[in-house]
């Protein structure tokens, strides 16, 4: 954590508007991206981003939680919010593929689409949704946010060995589900 960030957080503890605004402007896009990868809906991700920052402000008085890594703490709160969101929904949201592809961006046209095309993309999306929340969390942090294993371990409060095992199981399960989806 930089000295400047620490100073901002100390001011944010006193609910300083400018400091909170600066922290929000810096971190909100990252948190939004993370949340979108978990909930697949731009509007929901935007709402949850606001929730995450309100939760941050609710708990910011307790320095213990952000002193080591504010970024890590943010992702942890975001993950908890995602779990709450799905609990509120009482089901894992399955966004229809067409809506997913055509709402905010058309993956097939933006050059980032997998070469196997929409069918493969749909299979992958469906398979990812069937993973456990922890497995999804690991995959998003590792392959979406590009974090190292030890960073993911700190956020998830697990050992690096546990994260490696979780990652292995997640990829193996995902692979198996993709293959089953392709066969079907």
């Amino acid at each position: 954590m930089t000295t400047r960030e620490h100073a901002l957080l100390k001011r944010a503890q006193a609910y300083d508007e400018q400091a909170i605004g600066e922290l929000y402007d810096h971190y909100a896009p990252f948190i939004y991206t993370y949340l979108y990868r978990r909930v697949h809906d731009a509007k929901v991700a935007e709402d949850l981003t606001g929730d995450v920052f309100v939760r941050v402000l609710q708990a910011i008085q307790s320095e213990r939680f952000w002193q080591t890594s504010f970024r890590g703490w943010l992702y942890r709160i975001a993950h908890n919010r995602v779990i709450d969101y799905y609990r509120e929904q009482s089901r894992m949201i399955q966004v229809p593929l067409e809506e997913h592809l055509e709402s905010d961006h058309d993956v097939a046209d933006d050059g980032n689409a997998p070469s196997a095309g929409r069918q493969a993309f749909q299979t992958l999306a469906s398979a990812l949704d069937q993973l456990t929340p922890d497995q999804q969390h690991v995959l998003v942090l590792r392959f979406g946010e590009g974090m190292k294993v030890h960073e993911v371990a700190a956020i998830m409060d697990k050992s690096t060995g546990a994260i490696e095992a979780l990652q292995h199981r997640a990829l193996a399960t995902l692979r198996r589900m993709i293959e089953q989806g392709n066969e079907a």
Partner: protein, 329 residues
């Protein structure tokens, strides 16, 4: 020399893949494990491509920014002084005076028990060797009182103590042991049973007291979830569900006092066997029900209209379910 498990080899090869972006090049480093690693690396690549497809965030994520700043403004405007625990509880006037006497009785009984060891034990957390002494002194308190109203107040205040312990454990990032859940469950059951033995004229007030007080606990647990480590979240959810289930029972009891009295005077209901997937899952806390529980004004607690309708709840699997209320006492 570090032993390479498949998991650690996968991590190592994924780091290489991030640099080279070429599965074939990476696999050349692990000829013996290529067959195992190949599908996993390919899948990781696919996941990376999938996650890269994220729409641009709405301009400035303006709404969330406004909400965060509005929340900060309310906090700046709020009185910063931390209020006492009991100061947070706004009793309806009639209930406050109804139970003030019971609280005074408990305080009177607590005074002679304040030996140095018991005093030390009172602040301990689960896992501390003195913790069992703390629980024993609580049990002694129960044994020493035969007044139903005092027992309800004591049981609920000890459930409060469990929430305080949970708060301390969460702040220290220590795991919440399952015993805390069981003990809280025991307190709630005791409170309900004591209410069932109370004179008819005061039973409603005691149930309302239970409902009111547990709502505070649910809100406190909700706030704690913000700070909780992932390891503690399932337990927090279970304890919160337990609180809500107790609230529901008390709310339904207000509507069906006879059924409630009969069920709870019959003896100690069975103890909850598991923290997750056990009888707790018999009642599903829907969002609608959660809102009802947390937003019902105290003034309306005694009116039957606030009792949740049976269809909100999923059928409880126990054979002793009461058809009239749709909930198993």
């Amino acid at each position: 020399m570090k032993a390479h498990t498949t998991e650690s080899l996968l991590t190592e090869s994924l780091e290489k893949l991030q640099k080279t972006r070429n599965v074939t090049v990476v696999l050349a480093h692990y000829p013996d494990k290529a067959e195992t690693l190949h599908p996993l690396l390919e899948t990781a690549q696919q996941a990376g491509v999938y996650y890269a497809a994220v729409p641009r965030p709405p301009e400035g994520l303006h709404e969330g920014r406004q909400r965060a700043l509005a929340f900060a403004a309310t906090q700046r405007a709020a009185v910063p002084a931390r209020r006492a625990v009991w100061g947070n509880v706004k009793f309806p006037n009639n209930l406050f005076w109804k139970f003030a006497g019971a609280i005074a009785v408990i305080a009177f009984i607590l005074i002679p028990l304040r030996g140095p060891l018991v005093s030390a034990a009172r602040t301990t957390l689960p896992g501390n060797p003195l913790y069992s002494l703390k629980l024993s002194s609580e049990d002694q308190l129960f044994a020493s009182m035969d007044d139903a109203e005092a027992q309800v107040v004591l049981a609920i205040s000890l459930a409060d103590e469990r929430v305080e312990e949970i708060r301390a454990l969460v702040e220290k990032q220590q795991a919440i042991p399952v015993d805390v859940l069981y003990r809280t469950d025991y307190m709630f059951r005791t409170a309900l049973m004591s209410a069932a033995w109370a004179p008819e004229a005061v039973m409603s007030n005691m149930l309302a007291y239970i409902i009111h007080h547990i709502r505070q606990q649910v809100q406190q647990l909700e706030l704690l979830k913000v700070q909780a480590t992932p390891r503690n979240l399932p337990m927090l959810n279970d304890i919160q569900t337990l609180c809500m289930k107790t609230q529901i029972i008390a709310m339904v009891a207000l509507e069906n006092p006879e059924t409630f009295r009969e069920a709870y005077r019959a003896g100690t209901p069975e103890r909850m066997p598991l923290p997750s997937g056990g009888p707790l899952s018999g009642v599903v806390i829907t969002e609608e029900l959660r809102n009802l529980i947390t937003s019902t004004p105290d003034s309306s607690l005694l009116t039957p209209a606030t009792v949740p309708a049976a269809p909100i709840l999923t059928p409880t699997p126990k054979p002793t379910a009461t058809p009239a209320s749709g909930i198993d006492f």
